[in-house]
Each structure stands twice: as structure tokens, then as C-alpha cells.
Symmetry: C2
Subunit: 328 residues, 2 copies
Amino acid sequence: MKLRDLGEFPFLHRLRERLPADPRVLLGVGDDCAAVALPGTTVLTTDAMIEGVHFRREWTTLTMLGAKAFAINASDILAMGGDPTFALLSLGVPQETEVEDLDAFFEGFLRAASDCGAALIGGNMSAAPCLMISVTLLGQTVHGVLARAGARVGDDVYVTGTLGDAALGLRMLQEGRSDAAAEQVKARFLCPTIRFAVSRELAARHLAHAMIDVSDGVLQDLGHLCAASRMGAVIDAPSLPLSESYQTLLGKNQWNTALTGGEDYELLFTAAQDQRETIGQLAQTSHCPITRIGHIVAQAEGLTVRGPDGTPLTVARAGFDHFRQDRK
Amino acid sequence: MKLRDLGEFPFLHRLRERLPADPRVLLGVGDDCAAVALPGTTVLTTDAMIEGVHFRREWTTLTMLGAKAFAINASDILAMGGDPTFALLSLGVPQETEVEDLDAFFEGFLRAASDCGAALIGGNMSAAPCLMISVTLLGQTVHGVLARAGARVGDDVYVTGTLGDAALGLRMLQEGRSDAAAEQVKARFLCPTIRFAVSRELAARHLAHAMIDVSDGVLQDLGHLCAASRMGAVIDAPSLPLSESYQTLLGKNQWNTALTGGEDYELLFTAAQDQRETIGQLAQTSHCPITRIGHIVAQAEGLTVRGPDGTPLTVARAGFDHFRQDRK
């Protein structure tokens, strides 16, 4: 059934029936606003996905798309050391959209939210020329806010998971490749992993000095962290965590995509050197790779990437800007 | 200068410099998330405006568009008896957009926010095929949440301002008319008034039993209020507040547009009969017309519109649904 046949209000009524009861929500979907109590410090983020810009319908199921729309926002909350709590969803939907597709989108979104303990409390839906998804996510920081500022000279720089897979996955989707390695990195682009356990432990045990999520490429995001901390940093390229698929597709010693590729949604953080053992244990207990990729230096030394012989590497393109003409 | 020449990050850096300092904001634009403390009960809403669906660039200045993007969200917060506090802005922007136009948009948005005491604390910007604006607005309800539910049998039904002007203004824009009356109603569509003073007093003095904002037509929105309150209502058509321009353009005794036209963003509320004098005084002190348009009855009696002779009127179209095929 198409949405224009069902109508907006009947769809929203059905949706409301699907939302689980949540004692934290004083007033949920169905009034002019949601109402909640938000004790302590609340962190808030908003991020959007637009058809033709961030995704194509033929690349992804709507369930995966819903999960990703939640994940890219959760990533920002986790990067502050926060627990996702409440989500609002603003949808622009073409009139021809199948109700079943929208149902699948909500299924993916709500499951991802529920996995993190978050509830959908509000939103809106309107007609649009293409599918447009804008999410606002709130989180609670029980153990204090873990900002980008806070890195100190001598800190180790760590990153979760592997780098560059999502950018490579996007390229494979664009090129229509479907060998095993291509499928692996495509999945990394379409279904980013939410690093919930790592973020929670880093925050609860005050292990990290500064944190950011890697959404625009590790080089650019480490640059943001350094700028906020008034620090510089050295990345050791050979220590960058590259997946097997990445190495199969690009070969060894090809760090450029890992350094500059967007949408990895991994966590990048700095910690004191004497925490190395603790962080090694955290990687084990959370079943999430955590790799030391460099260290923090004084601001005057800038941000450098070192190659295998220790000399600085030149990096082709420093991350992603939606609007610059030099965008490839 | 075009946005693609300036780039996303330089634009955001410039924007950050423009945001006024706000002691309530622990961490504002420029980290992964904003961070704020939100004591008491927080109300939240999100609403979007999409080029070609909600507006056309040739109809409006970008400053007016920014102000309206804030206003339509503020309207939801006020309808809960809340004070707007913090806003997040998710923008989809075509690459060809002039930086000056974006500046104008932010000027209108920030001025409207500042007029209500609200601060912009976060957002995102991405490329898009058309201009897309999604706002999330938070508010604080110091005096309790004023929900849609709460109307009682015998309550008077009130509405602020005049009805139907925005829908008529949209029609004038579509038809390209520019006589004086047309200009007046166009302005009502492009620049909705934020009924801040009325909402504040209604909440602070616990005058209203239930409230909603009129965004989909008073008949449909009163229907929502009645459904949430498990009540019915009678509207007396001759008492509907019609502007002079409305009467000039449509003639007298033409209530259909006032009953079903969207985007008025007026407040609709119910109150006990013994509050009539107090509400009359509130209209005076807040310099905002408040008109009694009907009363609440038992749910079984449904929702009726009465004509001048007291007999029920048939209304052509009961409000607005983005997706129904019968949309005109």
C-alpha cells in the first residue's frame, strides 16, 4: 500500500501502537510535543541522511537505513561518553512511498534505538521530493561530558574497529562490485557498528581525556580534536587498523583511504600512557578492537602522519567537506 | 559567494562566532554534541520545511524563512505551555546556495529564537537537492505540561488571532495576486506570529485545561484535542475570528477556509466558563485577540460546526494531510 492511500494520520496512529511503553516518557508521540524529565547533563545531536546524497534506495534495505540513521547519531552521543536516551525523527517522504518500506525503516530504527536503551518520543512526517531523514538524539552523561578538548601532550591516540572500510564500501557500491571483500566493506558502509560498550567503559572509568567519532576521516577528525584541545598529534600510518577486506581490495601500505575516508563511525580518543594495559583489557571485555595509532604532541608541532621509516607522509585529501569544489 | 566556494567548516566557524554566549549552554556548536542541563520537565518537538513543498524561494526572503522555521516549532512548545530554550537545526543545502542567503536564513532564525529566549546549540549541514530545514526545539514547562488532553464538558473553546489567513495567503502566492488584502494574508503565511505572551500567562495562571496549536486547520486540530480529551465540541461558525483581509478576499459568512486552512499557528485552548473575564483581560494585556469560538460537549455528541441559525454546517474538507490522494 502506498502512503498516499493510507494517509499520514493513520500511519502515525499505527506507529504509535508499535512504540513500547517507557516509564521515562511523560508524554510521547501524539501531542504537540513530547515531555520528559532529563536529570543531570543532557547531550544532544542532530544528523541527516538524504536520498541521492548519503544513500541510494537500490543499495540498502529500508531496515538497514533506519538502523544507520540511528547509528550515526548514536555515534555522536557515545563520543561524548553519553548513553542515548530519547530520539526525535523528522521524515520527508515521497508520496509514492510504500507503507511497507516505511514500516521497515521504523523497524530498523526502533530496533537500533532499543538496543541502546533509547526511545522514539516524537517526530514529524511531510511530503518531499526524495527520502530525507533527520534525527535528533539526546543522551545522558552520568560520568561527565567527554569533549573533544582535553587531550594532553604525551597521550596515546586510540581508535576502535578498523578505518577506511566505509569509504571503500561506498566506492564498491558506486562501482557495482560484489566479490566477498567488496561485500564486507559495503556492509561496513551500510551498517555502522555502534560502539556502545567501549564508550560506556571509557566514560565510567574516566579512561579517556578527549574523544570524537570518526565520521569525516580520522585525519580530519583528529584535527578537530587537536584544535579543540590546542594540541598537535602524530599518527603512525603502519599502526592504522586495516581490515582484511581493505588490504585485499587496496593492498598493503595503502593508508590514504583509512586516513581520509568518511563514515566509519568509530571512536577516536586519547588516554594517558599508563592506561595501556587497562585499555587492552577493555578491548577484550568489550569484544571490540582498540588500536593505538599515534600520540599527542604540542600544538606548534601540528598534525603529522609518519610512514614506516618515520618520515612524514603526504596525504592526498584531508577528509570530507560537503560543499567544497575540490570534493571528489 | 557560493557555499561550495567557502566550504562547510569555514561557514560553521563563522556561524559559531555569531552565536551569543549563553551561560545555560555547557557545550554549544562545535563538538560532537551540545551539552546542557535541563531541570524540571522538558518538552521537545521537531518540524521541517522543504523547498517546493512548504515554500518556494521566490515567495520569501531567507530571513523570513529562518524566522518561520523557528516559529512553527515554537508554536508547538507554546501549545504545551512551555518556554522555548534550546534549538538544533538540520539543514540540507544545494551546493549552489549563496553564503549571503544562508547568512540571512540564520539571521532570521537566531533573531526569532532570541526573541523567545532560546539558543541555537547544535545542528548539521549537508548537501541536498533542495533547501531542507529540520528544526528540533526544546522547551521548559515551569508550570506543568499543558497537553491536548484535559478539556472538560462545558469548557469554552478559544483561539488566538484570526483563522484561515495563512491558507488564503498561500493561495494568493500561488495565484500571484498582490493587492493590499492579498499582501496582508501572504504575510500571515510567511511570518506566523509567535503567541509567546498568551501561552506564558495561560500556563503560569493555570487558565487553560487543554491546548493545541492550529497548524492543520482549526477543525482538525480541535478534533485532535477532543480525541485526546475524549470529548466532543461545538464550533459556532459566526464567532470565528476572520481578518478584514479575509473578509475582503472571500466575503462574509465564508468559514470554510477559516475552519480547514493550515499553518495559522494560533493557539487553541479550552477553559472553564468562569474564566471569561480573566481571559478577556489577558487578551488586552497581551495585545493579542482571543476569541471564544465554541464549547466542549460529551464525546458521544461528536464535533459539530453550527451556522448562524444554529443548525449544523457541512464543511468541505477536514484539514490537511500531506499524503492523502484527496489533497487539493
